[in-house]
């Protein structure tokens, strides 16, 4: 019962359509879990329900012992859940630095008067924030593009910045929504290494949605399989690869593992 993330009987209904139906799952602290399933299985819908973007119709979600019921997305983020998006959502007019710093606003206070008058407390806070930023940029090999406007970055780098921004919000748990989508094999290899480091070096718990099966089988410690909104299997990569229900679900699409 002491799971970091505990999802119980969650359903999400759009009109009459059950996009997610009675899903229960748990993620332990420090784990690297994958959520897979054919297109339209409800994976992103489940992410959206867990992060408050589009709350679940039924069921309960507990994070770190606290219920996420009726929490707004920004409150969920403050509690320590970060995410990336399927279609990259960066602050495109801002530089990489500013993107990261926009994700840090809940980590410190800055009062109106001292920031307007540029009082020493303001300068101190800014130095602190700049320190955090430099550290993340260095760790994620982004120092060279720190001052670049993100709209001008290549696709692969934008994905990396989005992960860096999620890290900047100082989360315990990070949801990655198809991080390898549209990447070439080299970029995917870099990404695989990066996700591992999120777990080992940053001590983050990672939940990822991914279609690239080699990446999933390579990385995940545990896998949940979703089909038509329902959970059809759970297990280690080896177990999932030999699960009949999973193989049937993917038939036609084919599991390239």
């Amino acid at each position: 019962m002491s799971s970091l993330l505990q999802v119980e009987h969650v359903s999400k209904i759009f009109g009459g359509l059950k996009a997610v139906e009675d899903v229960s799952l748990h993620v332990e602290e420090g784990e690297l879990v994958a959520l897979i399933g054919p297109n339209g299985a409800g994976k992103t819908t489940l992410f959206n329900a867990l992060t408050g973007v589009s709350p679940a119709t039924e069921g309960t979600v507990t994070f770190n012992g606290v219920s996420l019921d009726k929490k707004k997305p920004y409150q969920v983020a403050k509690m320590g859940i970060a995410r990336t998006f399927q279609n990259i959502r960066l602050f495109h007019q801002l530089s990489v630095r500013e993107n990261l710093q926009a994700a840090m606003t809940h980590r410190y206070k800055e009062d109106f008067v001292s920031s307007i008058l540029r009082l020493p407390t303001f300068t101190k806070k800014e130095a602190l924030v700049n320190g955090w930023t430099d550290e993340i940029l260095a760790k994620l090999d982004l120092s060279a593009v720190g001052d670049t406007i993100t709209a001008n970055l290549p696709y692969g780098t934008q994905r990396r910045v989005e992960i860096a921004r999620a890290v900047a919000s100082d989360p315990k748990l990070i949801f990655l929504d198809e991080p390898a989508a549209g990447m070439n094999p080299e970029e995917t290899a870099d990404l695989t290494a990066l996700i591992r480091r999120l777990q080992s070096e940053f001590g983050l718990t990672v939940v990822l949605i991914e279609h690239d099966m080699s990446l999933v089988m390579n990385l995940a410690e545990r896998i949940y399989v979703l089909e038509h909104g329902k959970l059809i299997a759970e297990g280690t990569p080896a177990e999932i690869q030999n699960n009949d229900a999973v193989i049937t679900a993917y038939l036609g699409g084919g599991v390239h593992a």
């Binding site: 992103t44 959206n48 973007v53 589009s54 998006f85 399927q86």
Partner: protein, 292 residues
């Protein structure tokens, strides 16, 4: 009861003018997401054309109305071609400022050429009042209502039944996809401006008959009210614009009737804000949620 009925009739006449204008706003917005600030001034052009042609050639109401619609249709298409088309891929706020520029240009250009003074619209239709059950309605009010309803039905037929109408709806949903299936968006947008402007021109002639006076700045306030009507009805929705127009017309006359005429504009905006708070996309607008 009688006064209420009387006010409803007055409100419907005024509302049909707003509705005709609101249709132009909503069609243009639906297709290129531009608040066409100059739309109210196209309505002014229609009124001036009616004034000119009736005084000069002594034509009857139908000729004045139809010719005003043709002239304003071309004016609308010309404005689109010169001022808005070059900005098709610019930030929307830039197009908005350009539309404001066009509006200033038309208002002040007309003032410069013909003077800023108010002039009497020639009474091409003799006014008669019909009274039944203690409610009085003038033939001009009837004319406005009937003309407006005929035009709205025609518009609905064009949008729903013709090839061009289908193309308009297609471009409104997805311009690129429409282009891919062989629709030329420029033609469709131009047609939309023509159609909307023709309705505004008709409204201009009708208001000239109704209020009997026109001036170069006459389009400003009704233009804004009609846009509010389009937003209340759900911008992009053609039936919504018609409903919004009638609603605003009724509301204004209603507030005036209970002796609060000083607050009639405020009442319109209060209703606008209340409706937007409850229904952020207006009465018939589709509330599109962004996909994450």
């Amino acid at each position: 009861m009688h006064t209420a009925m009387q006010q409803i009739i007055n409100g419907l006449s005024l509302g049909s003018i707003y509705a005709l204008l609101a249709l132009g706003y909503t069609m243009v917005y639906g297709i290129i997401k531009l608040i066409n600030f100059a739309h109210g001034d196209v309505y002014m052009l229609g009124a001036f054309w009616g004034y000119f042609i009736i005084n000069k050639y002594h034509v009857d109401f139908i000729v004045a109305l139809l010719s005003a619609m043709i002239v304003t249709a071309f004016a609308g298409m010309l404005i689109e071609y010169l001022a808005y088309r070059p900005l098709r891929n610019s930030p929307r706020i830039t197009a908005l400022i350009t539309a404001i520029g066009v509006s200033y240009f038309l208002e002040n250009g007309m003032s410069y050429l013909f003077g800023a003074n108010t002039r009497n619209f020639p009474q091409v239709v003799q006014q008669h009042n019909y009274t039944a059950f203690g409610i009085s309605i003038s033939n001009i009010q009837l004319l406005i209502l009937v003309t407006a309803i005929i035009l709205m039905v025609l518009l609905q037929l064009i949008i729903q039944k013709t090839k061009m109408g289908t193309a308009m709806r297609a471009v409104a949903v997805d311009q690129e996809a429409a282009a891919l299936v062989g629709i030329n968006p420029d033609h469709v947008i131009s047609f939309t401006f023509g159609l909307g402007s023709a309705l505004a021109g008709a409204a201009g002639v009708l208001i000239g008959l109704y209020y009997n006076s026109i001036d170069p700045l006459m389009g400003m306030t009704p233009g804004i009210k009609a846009f509010v009507a389009a937003v209340v009805g759900g911008i992009g929705s053609v039936p919504g614009a018609a409903i919004g127009g009638f609603l605003i017309g009724l509301l204004e006359t209603g507030v005036q009737a209970i002796g609060l005429s000083a607050y009639k504009d405020a009442a319109v905006y209060v209703v606008l804000i209340l409706i937007l708070i409850v229904l952020p996309a207006g009465l018939l607008g589709k509330n599109v949620k962004e996909k994450v």
